[in-house]
Symmetry: D2
Subunit: 146 residues, 4 copies
């Protein structure tokens, strides 16, 4: 449900993202979630550059995606995103993709990201500053978790 989200990013489907079936190729929805994750960080005031300055980067550890209906070239898609949980070294984001002005779910995703050292790619605790900013944006107390 769109109402469950405080953030969304809108993009238009590119011709190259469609396939022979005339619809968006499935792996592109995963790409869209990646784009939306970057925009989410910008929206909450914590761009990837800010994160790097805090000595952290994020890598995708696990994703589950459901494909419910189709989209095609030139469609405007809204990718809704939210942080639903923060663990010790990881945080979970939920995504739902809808065509603009429609309540028809195209795809949904549940993604687990791990905070890592940008050099060694080793897991590290989700920075307190990030917990704070995500919690403020989502209206939750993520420090209490974990």
């Amino acid at each position: 449900m769109k109402n469950d989200f405080r953030f969304h990013h809108t993009l238009r489907v590119r011709f190259a993202e469609t396939d022979k079936q005339g619809i968006v190729f499935n792996a592109n929805y995963m790409l869209y979630c990646d784009v939306a994750q970057a925009e989410y960080f910008r929206a909450i005031g914590m761009k990837f550059q800010d994160l790097l300055q805090m000595g952290a980067d994020t890598v995708l550890a696990r994703i589950t995606m459901d494909f419910k209906s189709t989209a095609t070239f030139d469609d405007l898609l809204e990718i809704y995103g939210r942080v639903s949980k923060i663990g010790n070294t990881s945080f979970v984001m939920d995504f739902e993709i809808y065509p603009q002005d429609e309540d028809r779910l195209v795809s949904s995703a549940n993604a687990v990201y791990v905070c890592v050292d940008p050099e060694t790619l080793k897991a590290l605790r989700v920075p307190d500053q990030l917990r704070l900013v995500m919690g403020r944006f989502e209206g939750k107390d993520f420090n209490a978790v974990s």
Copy 2:
């Protein structure tokens, strides 16, 4: 475990498939599974053209992917694949991706495909001929399921 599979497809990582972190961009592993699915069908003697002639096509309905370690440009990757279950209108494939000559798991996936009418994209029962061929290849009786 590689030994759990009777099929694998080998491909070499393209430069364009790497990203700024110097490693394969995550959505490309989903693309690799799509390539391996097409090759699996060829391997069991049921090319996508044969499937279309039987009045069926397949669409991805759900996928769960785990990202365990990394790969980079020029690496040879082996994508292991098997059909683990056949339901009424869907079948499940498991994928595991390893660098050639290594036992280090890079990524694994569990994918649910639905058989559909190529025109209407409506779900239809997995053709008996496909159950038979998949069962013969995997050494299982998939007719008994569902």
Copy 3:
């Protein structure tokens, strides 16, 4: 020169579009030109759907691209585009790509598109209505050409 163009489309570089060298992979600039072409048609009031209704589609016949400097993740790029010539069955577009707020040319392209029948993909004369609309937008008389 940006001033030579009446149209531009802005997009942000996606993480997946960078490569191991840390910069945008070259073929993605060709993709950006394709995106800009579709937006150009929208900007002049002739969406691809309108074109299809006139019984025409466009295919790329030839492209020359120069790569002058680099761009990377999160950069905002402006793709400037214009129709510079219309022949009998083809038209030429020039593209120049700059980072937003910079005069540093990243890439330029010269692309020849052919109007084709959407079904047979056979070349057909550029529709008069399209010549008119492009001419009006560019401030040129394209009917005189050819």
Copy 4:
């Protein structure tokens, strides 16, 4: 003409590389040339890792591509490639793409690569060792040029 080349690389068109028109999206042919360039270097015994050890990398400076006919999912394509000229800091490669067992040209390309310092990306003279190896493979004396 295939006979003009001593090297080719074969690849199979992936489903994701097709578009809504049912054919390979044009920018993917540029990607195929990039794949073929890497394989060419391997074929002449000068892998990109060898090149890096010599303190050189290559970047694409200019490309002209012609699109002559179409290819689609599952097609086996042969990308023919050769070095046709070596300048001071650059070398030129020609590519021609054909479906396997057909003489129908799908696409051709003329690409100018510049040798650069891997760190600074500044142009540097094409290493003599590379001139030698390319000349030996192509049966030409590239040292004489420039």
